[in-house]
């Protein structure tokens, strides 16, 4: 076990090294540069050349890479060239926002998706089924940025039910503990802050939930159909069990297995797929961090977000593999 872990961890190093080269080369081949983005249109060509020189951007790329690697090894990812803030702090602030939004979207997708998928399967081929399937697919077909705007216009501007954007109202004075706004409110017993944060979550998580919702409905429907036609359900029915018992104990439980796998798949997509939603709802998450960094050629931020993202991804994979071995004795770590 320990040997396995050590070996896997050692494998991580060349992977990350390779990735850092790719990321570094990709950044430097982006047109435009951080010096221009930093100084803006007020700067003269001389100003820009001077700053580029200071930033070391006139050095050969391998020299730049060497310096970058030297800093990263010591844990120094630098400060964002947009905000002057340590990049690590920025990620620390953005990550809870993205996770919060993703979890909320997942709750909506699962909470609506499983019942809808089940209903669609029960009424297979009837209008209710067709309506549900097509309806959820329409959600997939709407460009997210447009959907976001319409949701805001109707529910925030016209009806005034929810705030149009952001994570918290300026009027609410919330104490920060974990960075998860809803959780913080509960921890500090500032329930009004939790409620305020929840209200801010509703519209963006709805917009973000459309795609996973459609997928979960489809998988649930297919898998319920699968189970409904299986032998053990037929047996259960013929035994004379109450239809409710059959559905609850046999059908749903077995059908949810593939669904849970799908839900897992959606988590990854949500975490990183929120770029557009975050932008429309001015949600200060990782997606916004990344999109802004690309627009403003913020090298330090891009490098840190991409490399740390990869590191987290690799480590999570390793943990999952390990948990397999613990849970399932048939899996051998080799």
């Amino acid at each position: 076990m320990l040997r396995f872990v050590v070996r896997r961890l050692l494998q991580v190093i060349p992977t990350l090294l390779l990735l850092s080269i790719v990321v570094f080369a990709w950044l430097r081949s982006l047109p435009g540069g951080p010096a221009t983005a930093f100084l803006g249109d007020r700067a003269t060509p001389e100003n820009i050349a001077e700053l580029s020189r200071l930033m070391g951007l006139d050095q050969p790329i391998w020299v730049q890479y060497g310096r970058f690697l030297g800093r990263v090894v010591t844990g120094d990812f630098g400060t964002s060239s947009i905000t002057g803030q340590p990049v690590i702090d920025e990620i620390g602030r953005a990550l809870p926002a993205t996770i919060e939004l993703s979890v909320a979207a997942l709750v909506i997708a699962v909470g609506l998706g499983i019942p809808l998928g089940y209903i669609a399967a029960r009424y297979r081929g009837r209008p209710l089924d067709v309506f549900t399937v097509i309806g959820t697919l329409v959600g997939v077909a709407v460009p997210v940025f447009f959907l976001g705007y319409v949701l805001k216009d109707v529910f925030a501007v016209d009806l005034g039910w929810f705030p149009p954007s952001g994570r918290q109202s300026v009027a609410v004075d919330a104490t920060k503990v974990t960075g998860f706004a809803v959780l913080d409110g509960i921890l500090t017993r500032e329930f009004d802050a939790s409620l305020d944060a929840l209200r801010h979550l509703v519209l963006p998580s709805l917009a973000l939930a459309t795609i996973p919702l459609a997928v979960i409905v489809r998988i649930t429907r297919a898998s319920v159909l699968d189970v409904l036609g299986s032998d053990f359900v037929r047996t259960a029915n013929s035994k004379g069990l109450a239809p409710g018992t059959v559905r609850g104990r046999h059908v749903l439980r077995n059908a949810l297995l593939p669904v849970s796998t799908t839900i897992g798949l959606q988590v990854g997509l949500l975490l990183a797929g929120a770029v557009l939603t975050e932008r429309v709802f001015v949600w200060g998450g990782v997606g916004t961090l990344l999109a802004d960094a690309i627009t403003l050629r913020d090298y330090p931020r891009l490098q840190a977000v991409l490399l740390l993202g990869a590191l987290i991804y690799v480590l999570v994979n390793l943990l999952v593999d390990l948990s397999y071995a613990v849970i399932d004795p048939r899996v051998r770590l080799s």
Binding site: V140, V142, F146, G273, T295, N317
Partner: protein, 307 residues
């Protein structure tokens, strides 16, 4: 039942790969599926409009009309009037003609992006699946890396690389997203067939390797590919629209393309919502059409769904 995200993405693709080809039976079942019929009708209308767009559209996509420009202000865009059934766009051009002509460009972006993805995917998948060994390991390692990056992020990263954004950079950025999916799909199909009777028989009869691959294995793997291509058409059109929204879209403002029009209309949502709503509806309908058809196809060839 927890597996990593990448593994599940892979297995979802492999599931399709396990499907049968599109036989007569599958088509028979498709005809009974209302979702498939609706999807096919939508796509049919769309393709016809696109094919005859220059004949249907009364004006060009770029010409500005003095009679429309006369009353054009940033905060007031002339609505429908004689000769211009949908009114003006933000530059005094005929919005109706642009909507019609845009069907062509939108289809072009979707189809080209899908085709490019398909070609590269087929090459990679065929090589990996047919030959196995180190080629397989290497190619699949690369596609795994690409699969691990969320699609829109990948498209944004590629699009940002372009020295100057244009229609071709959009197409390339969107197509790269689908390459690993097609590659993995085809590889799965190929692997499944390597030990199947007809391939073994052909090999035993002395048919040469490339011929076996091209004549016997590839045609049998094409069903799942068509399913995926149909679904990809929808996401390609949506991704292209997203790139336009993020400012990474086609830079020729004269060109009429729904995603581009929708992105440019963001400024005029309160002035003339029609400028956004029509392209948005068009995109929704087309993406829905391809998705409905694709999902129905997927179900039709899914061996598990047969009953």
């Amino acid at each position: 039942m927890t597996t990593t995200w990448l593994e599940r993405r892979r297995s979802r693709i492999d599931d399709i790969a396990g499907g049968r080809s599109l036989g007569a039976e599958a088509f028979r079942r498709l005809r009974r599926e209302p979702a498939a019929i609706i999807g096919a009708i939508i796509i049919g209308v769309f393709v016809v409009v696109a094919a005859f767009a220059p004949l249907i559209a009364p004006h060009s996509a770029t010409e500005a009309f003095p009679q429309l420009q006369e009353n054009l202000r940033p905060g007031s865009i002339p609505g429908p009037q004689e000769g211009f059934p949908l009114g003006s766009d933000q530059l005094g051009r005929d919005f109706y003609s642009r909507m019609i002509l845009a069907s062509q460009q939108t289809l072009l972006v979707g189809v080209l992006a899908t085709l490019i993805g398909l070609v590269f995917g087929i090459v990679i998948g065929t090589v990996a699946g047919a030959f196995g060994g180190w080629a397989d390991t290497l190619l699949m390692r690369v596609t795994d890396v690409l699969l691990a990056i969320p699609s829109l992020l990948l498209a944004i990263s590629v699009a940002a690389l372009a020295a100057s954004p244009s229609q071709s950079t959009v197409i390339i950025a969107v197509s790269i997203v689908s390459v690993p999916i097609f590659a993995r799909l085809l590889r799965g199909s190929m692997l499944a067939q390597r030990h199947s009777d007809h391939v073994v028989a052909a090999t035993a009869l002395g048919v040469r390797r490339p011929a076996v691959v091209l004549r016997h294995m590839l045609p049998n793997a094409i069903g799942p590919v068509i399913v995926q291509a149909t679904l990809t058409l929808a996401t390609a059109i949506l991704d292209a629209a997203a790139l336009s929204f993020l400012g990474l879209g086609d830079a020729d403002p004269g060109r009429a393309e729904w995603g581009l029009m929708l992105a440019q209309a963001q400024t005029y949502l309160d002035v003339r919502p029609a400028l956004a709503i029509y392209p948005a509806l068009a995109i929704i309908m087309v993406a829905l059409g391809f998705t409905l058809l694709g999902e129905s196809l997927r179900e039709a060839i899914d061996p598990k769904g047969r009953r």
